[in-house]
C-alpha cells in the first residue's frame, strides 16, 4: 500500500501536498490527553504518578515513530491531479478513496490560511461542489502553489483551452468594498446577541455560585459562557476584520480575517439567493448585512456590515441586472392578514421585478431575500385552515442552496396568480443566463 502511484492520469500529472501536511494532526493525541485530564483530573493524577521514566520512554519510543510513520504514509498516499474536466484527489492508506470533482460544477473556490499555516507558509484549498465533504479539501499546499492552482482551476472551469489554462494566471480583481475595522466594531456593539452573551457570562456564574457553592459547577458553566461571549464579539470581529469584496472576470472575491485569512471566489452565476438583514439598532446608521447562498458552500456572509446603498450596489454586481427593491416599493399583505399574524403582518412585503423575486419579513429585524428567477427550483403555494378563513395564502420559492424564500400572508387569488407567473418566469429566466463555463 506504500507503493507510489506511478500511473499518471490522462491530461494531468499527479502532485503531492506540501510536506508539512503530516504535522497538521500532530496536536490531536495531545488534545485527546488534555481533554481526558480535564474531564477526570483525579484519575489522570493517579495515572501520572504511576508512570515511571522507563514506561514513559518506552511509550514515547513506540508512539512517536508510529505517529510519524502514519502521518508520512498518509501524506505519501494523498495526491491530486488536474485534468481537462476534473480535479482528482486520491487519499487513504488503508481505505482508498478517489474523488473526481467536475470543474464545470464548481460553485466556489476557497483558499484558507489558518494562523499556524500562515506561519508555515501553506494554505488549504477547497472546492465547493454539491456533495463534497470536509475531506475533499486540499490541505496543505504551498501558498504560491495554492494560488496558482486556484487560478488554473478557475481558468479551466471557465472554459479556457487546457494548454493555456496554466498560463492564463490570476484574473485581475477590482475592489468593490472594504469594510473599515471601526465600523465592524461598532456594528457588533449594536447587535443584541453580543450583549446577551456577555450579560449571560457575567450574571450566570455568580448566581450559580450563590446557589450551589460548588467550584466545579461554576467553572463548567462559566468557561463555555465566556467562550461564547468571546466568539460572539471578539471572534466575529477577528473573522470579519479587513473584509474586502472585489470583482474579477472569475467572479466575486471575498477576502477576510485578521488571524485566519480566508479567500473565497464565487464564479459568475453561482449565487442562488441574496439577503439584506437589518437589525433594529442598525437602522439609525442605515446599515445592513449582506448574505448570500451558494450551493455547497458553508460561508453565507457577503458583507458583514455596510451602508444599505453600498450593500445594494454590491448585490447589483453579484446578480447582474438586479436592482434591490426600495422599502416603499414592496407590496404589503392585505389588511385582513392582521388576523393571521397580529402586528407582525406589517413586516411582510414582496416585490417581483424582471430579474428577481424579493420577499421581506420581520418587524424589528428586517430581512429582505432576493432570488433570481433563473435560480428557482420549484414554487409552492400553501394555505392552512385559519388562513383560508381570511382568504390568505403563502407562496414558497425553493432554491438550489436549500433555502426557501417565503412570501407570507398574500391574498389567496393573488397568491394563485403569483404561483403560475413565478413558475413561468423561473422557466424562461434561464434563457438569458450565462453558461456554466462562463468564458467559453
Amino acid at each position: 500500500m506504500t507503493a507510489p502511484g506511478e500511473e499518471t492520469g490522462p491530461g494531468g500529472d499527479e502532485r503531492r501536498l506540501h510536506p508539512v501536511t503530516p504535522l497538521r494532526r500532530a496536536w490531536a493525541p495531545v488534545a485527546v490527553l488534555a481533554g481526558w485530564a480535564v474531564h477526570d483530573p483525579d484519575q489522570a493524577h493517579r495515572q501520572l504518578t504511576r508512570l515511571t521514566t522507563t514506561t514513559l520512554v518506552a511509550g514515547l519510543a513506540v508512539l512517536v515513530p508510529a505517529a510519524a510513520l502514519y502521518g508520512f504514509l498518509s501524506w505519501w498516499c494523498t495526491r491530486y491531479a488536474v485534468t481537462d474536466t476534473e480535479l482528482r484527489i486520491r487519499t487513504g492508506l488503508f481505505f482508498r478513496r478517489t474523488a473526481h470533482i467536475r470543474l464545470e460544477r464548481i460553485q466556489a473556490v476557497d483558499v484558507t490560511r489558518p494562523l499556524l499555516a500562515r506561519v508555515a507558509g501553506v494554505a488549504k484549498l477547497k472546492l465547493d461542489v454539491i456533495g463534497t465533504e470536509k475531506k475533499d479539501e486540499l490541505a496543505f499546499l504551498g501558498e504560491a502553489e495554492a494560488r496558482a492552482l486556484r487560478a488554473e482551476l478557475l481558468a479551466r472551469a471557465a472554459g479556457f483551452a487546457p494548454g493555456t489554462a496554466r498560463e492564463v494566471g490570476e484574473a485581475p480583481a477590482r475592489q468593490l468594498v472594504r469594510v473599515p475595522a471601526g465600523v465592524i466594531a461598532v456594528s457588533l456593539l449594536l447587535v443584541a446577541s453580543t450583549w446577551a452573551s456577555l450579560a449571560a457570562a457575567l450574571v450566570v456564574p455568580p448566581l450559580l455560585w450563590l446557589a450551589t457553592h460548588s467550584l466545579w459547577t461554576v467553572l463548567a458553566t462559566a468557561v463555555p459562557l465566556f467562550g461564547g461571549a468571546v466568539t460572539s464579539s471578539a471572534g466575529r470581529f477577528v473573522a470579519a476584520y479587513d473584509w474586502t469584496v472585489s470583482e474579477s472576470p472569475d467572479g466575486l472575491r471575498i477576502d477576510r480575517g485578521l488571524l485566519d485569512r480566508t479567500h473565497e471566489t464565487v464564479p459568475p452565476g453561482r449565487v442562488q439567493t441574496v439577503r439584506i438583514v437589518e437589525p433594529l439598532l442598525w437602522r439609525r446608521p442605515g446599515w445592513g448585512r449582506g448574505e448570500l447562498d451558494v450551493a455547497g458552500s458553508s460561508n453565507s456572509v457577503l458583507l458583514p456590515v455596510a451602508p444599505r446603498e453600498i450593500a445594494a450596489s454590491v448585490i447589483a454586481r453579484v446578480l447582474p441586472g438586479v436592482a434591490v427593491p426600495q422599502t416603499t416599493g414592496l407590496l404589503r399583505p392585505p389588511r385582513r392578514a392582521r388576523w393571521c399574524a397580529p402586528v407582525w403582518w406589517r413586516g411582510h412585503g414582496i416585490a417581483v421585478t424582471d430579474a428577481v423575486f424579493a420577499a421581506r419579513h420581520g418587524l424589528l429585524r428586517r430581512r429582505l431575500a432576493l432570488v433570481p428567477h433563473a435560480k428557482v427550483q420549484s414554487v409552492r403555494l400553501t394555505q392552512g385552515p385559519w388562513q383560508r378563513v381570511w382568504q390568505g395564502a403563502d407562496v414558497r420559492v425553493d432554491t438550489g442552496a436549500n433555502r426557501t424564500v417565503t412570501a407570507r400572508l398574500r391574498d389567496a387569488g393573488e397568491a394563485a396568480g403569483l404561483l403560475r407567473a413565478q413558475a413561468e418566469r423561473s422557466r424562461t429566466g434561464r434563457r438569458g443566463a450565462r453558461p456554466d463555463r462562463w468564458m467559453a
Binding site: 460553485q107 420549484s378 409552492r380 403555494l381 394555505q383 425553493d398 422557466r427 434561464r430 456554466d436
Partner: protein
C-alpha cells in the same frame, strides 16, 4: 376519476388538465385503517373487559369511532390529490385543511424515483417522487398505477433532459 391512458393530454392553454389518483390508493388506505382499528378495538375490548370490568369493554368503541371518522377523512384527502402535466411544468395539488400546490419546471428535475412497498405492490400501486436541487421541493404523487407511474417517469425524464438547466 377516469385514469386510463392520457398520452394525448397536453395542456394547450393556460388551464391545466388535472388528473386524479386512481381509487386503489383509497381502497388500500381504508383497508389498512379498518384492519388496524379493528385489531386495536378487539384487543382493547378483550383486555379491559377481562382485567377491569365488563363495562370497560365499551372503550373498544373509541377506536371504532376514530376509524369511522378516519374513513371520511381518507376519502376527502384522496379526493384532494391531483396532478397536471403541462407543457413545461408539473403541477401537484393536495391537502384538505392544509392545502399545498407545487409547481416544478421539468428543466429543474434532477431525479425521478418510482417506489413501491410490499403493501403497495400487493394493491398494484406505485409512488412517483421528483427531486430537484432544492431539498424543500416535496413533489410526490402516491398511489399511481405502476404502468402510469412508469409512463410518468419516462416522460418526466425525457422532458427533464430536453429542458435541463441544472442549478
Amino acid at each position: 376519476m377516469e385514469t386510463g391512458s392520457r398520452q394525448d393530454v397536453r395542456a394547450s392553454g393556460d388551464e391545466p388538465v388535472w388528473t386524479a389518483l386512481p381509487p386503489g390508493l383509497l381502497r388500500m388506505r381504508r383497508l389498512l385503517l379498518v384492519v388496524w382499528s379493528g385489531l386495536t378495538a378487539v384487543t382493547a375490548g378483550v383486555l379491559l373487559g377481562l382485567f377491569l370490568a365488563p363495562a370497560w369493554a365499551a372503550c373498544a368503541l373509541v377506536p371504532l369511532g376514530a376509524a369511522a371518522w378516519g374513513w371520511v377523512l381518507l376519502g376527502r384527502n384522496w379526493r384532494s390529490w391531483r396532478y397536471a402535466e403541462r407543457a413545461d411544468d408539473l403541477l401537484i395539488s393536495r391537502g384538505v385543511l392544509w392545502r399545498e400546490e407545487t409547481v416544478v419546471p421539468y428543466g429543474r428535475m434532477q431525479l425521478v424515483e418510482v417506489t413501491s412497498g410490499p403493501v403497495e405492490r400487493h394493491f398494484g400501486l406505485a409512488t412517483v417522487q421528483l427531486h430537484t436541487a432544492a431539498a424543500a421541493t416535496d413533489a410526490t404523487i402516491p398511489g399511481l398505477d405502476p404502468a402510469e407511474a412508469e409512463r410518468l417517469r419516462d416522460r418526466l425524464t425525457q422532458l427533464g433532459q430536453a429542458r435541463s438547466a441544472g442549478l
